[in-house]
Symmetry: C2
Subunit: 328 residues, 2 copies
């Protein structure tokens, strides 16, 4: 199986655009129970399920047909053909071209705060798939759109929806049961902020770090069971609005992921000294009664979660925290 | 079962001293595969086996009978009766008094470099047990001496021997199969140094941290399997002098232990910013070809292991490293 097979299975008839121009938005999401490890590199099939929440920021993509060649714009600027962004996008569009002589014009606007250190590939590929769906009149279900988005970037499968989202790992080799679905509960009082420790380019990209972890970390053997348990705890905590269970679980999940990285060969550690000191400040504050927990992705920055009633106190303690609204 | 039962089972007849004065030395040891978690708090029975190496420094204890009350001296100074050291030592000696009116005079000399941040309770209780054995003429086997030492401090059971030592976790409720034994191989070229990050008193003692981990860390469920695998890798590495396997395993074992602490409720983190930066310097040096690995105990300091041939380079990179000879 390759990506083309998946695309062909979902879109039986290659067809011409049904509209001149299609625009779609998809939110950024960040994982509360992490996606860390692929069972199939080509089809972007994960070893474990994962669970995320959407942010009220993301990517808007407008698609139309161009005349003589592909054109990609990012925030109004033409993207170089040699850039990895261009190459990845075009390789994805190749899956859907009605004919080799069909070219796309893609214009992408990111509303993701640049300081936030959030990945844009998830919302980017999700928005692209949503706009393709309108452009070609596919009328695909959200489930199938999340499968297509997954082919662009694993976590893009979660960016098809707002709110809390579960990406099912699936069991099938062809990945047709590895899709995302909304988790039908919301938590109005939940608040989110990013504490940026470093904006430097990562010394190792997360895809390579993930691969190296799966291949070399002895702790990785325990990761699937950890994530399974964590997802059910997080879902229970959301349903019952048990914030302490919620916070404890997301924090432990992120720490367990970083522990798998620490024990790779060679080790991967995204932590900076300020990452550690910020974590310790969070723990100290919690010891003094403040309800603030964190999660981290494959990078040095800290994402804090807390309830509305403690927002003022959290912001007083971390004045540099960038608050970002969640998207119900 | 309590400690008294174990003592009585091993020393069938309570008897008077056979010599006027008995002196014994026991080395400090540090674990390469950690002892982290008890299955019996009273009998100091561990959840997992552990594996250590001895250092050429430790404790010498001289025991003799005093007249009207117990007297304890540490490095030539009388120890206060209210100190926890005194209380713990006397509670241990209570197990072996021929009669309630029998009193001990105990003089303890530590040769452990004070800057090294190494625990003295293991060598202390081991030396005490060895001197009790001579004092009362018990003629106990080393196996049984290691069981008695365990009652004073778990890791003291390993300080009965020089060299590499395996402490078997045992299965029995009475702990009679939870003893240490020498691992019959040595590694002449192995070198050891301590990098002291902080001499401050720990904010939580390791016994409490251990207890909290066992009770609350979801990662602790995986710890026994990790240690089992690590011990067999370490033993294989020593036999075959595979330094890279040796180093990778001890480092991963220590990091896994700290990961279990990070995920307790509330979290335990002994790392200081300099702990992290030192770890990252080690990893960077290794990436550049230097064969240096680390282990850590329940504290912020870093213990480095390397081979003789790289000693100069390691000391050049870490001029503050305190080298300590291992004890074959």
């Amino acid at each position: 199986m390759n990506k083309k097979d998946t695309a062909n299975a979902l879109i039986s008839v290659k067809r011409e655009p049904v509209v001149e121009k299609a625009t779609a938005f998809a939110p950024v999401n960040f994982a509360l129970a992490k996606y860390w490890g692929k069972r199939d590199e080509e089809l972007m099939l994960p070893v474990t399920s994962s669970f995320s929440v959407a942010i009220d920021a993301g990517t808007t993509t407008t698609l139309c047909q161009a005349h003589d060649c592909d054109i990609v714009e990012l925030n109004g600027k033409r993207v170089e053909k040699s850039s990895s962004f261009y190459v990845r996008l075009i390789a994805f569009l190749d899956l859907f071209r009605p004919s080799p002589s069909f070219f796309f014009s893609v214009s992408t606007i990111n509303t993701i705060p640049t300081a936030a250190g959030l990945a844009s590939s998830a919302s980017g590929f999700a928005a692209l798939v949503l706009s393709l769906n309108t452009f070609f009149g596919w009328n695909l279900s959200q489930k199938n759109l999340s499968i297509l988005a997954r082919l662009g970037s694993g976590s893009a499968s979660r960016s098809i929806y707002p709110g809390f989202v579960l990406w099912n790992k699936g069991e099938r080799k062809d990945g047709m049961d590895s899709f995302s679905e909304p988790f039908d509960h919301w938590w109005d009082e939940l608040r989110f902020g990013i504490y940026v420790v470093s904006k430097e380019k990562k010394y190792i990209d997360s895809r390579s770090a993930m691969q190296r972890t799966v291949t070399t970390s002895p702790l990785y053997a325990f990761w699937p069971e950890i994530v399974d348990n964590d997802i059910s705890h997080i879902q229970k905590a959301i349903k019952q609005k048990e914030f302490s269970l919620f916070g404890t679980t997301i924090e432990q999940n992120a720490l367990a992921m970083h522990a798998t990285m620490f024990t790779t060969e060679p080790p991967v550690c995204y932590w900076k000294e300020e990452t550690l000191s910020t974590i310790q400040r969070i723990w100290k504050a919690r010891g003094e009664g403040l309800g603030v927990f964190f999660t981290m992705d494959a990078g040095p920055n800290i994402k804090m979660l807390f309830l509305e009633e403690q927002e003022k106190d959290v912001c007083r303690l971390f004045p540099d925290l960038s608050l970002l609204p969640l998207l119900a």
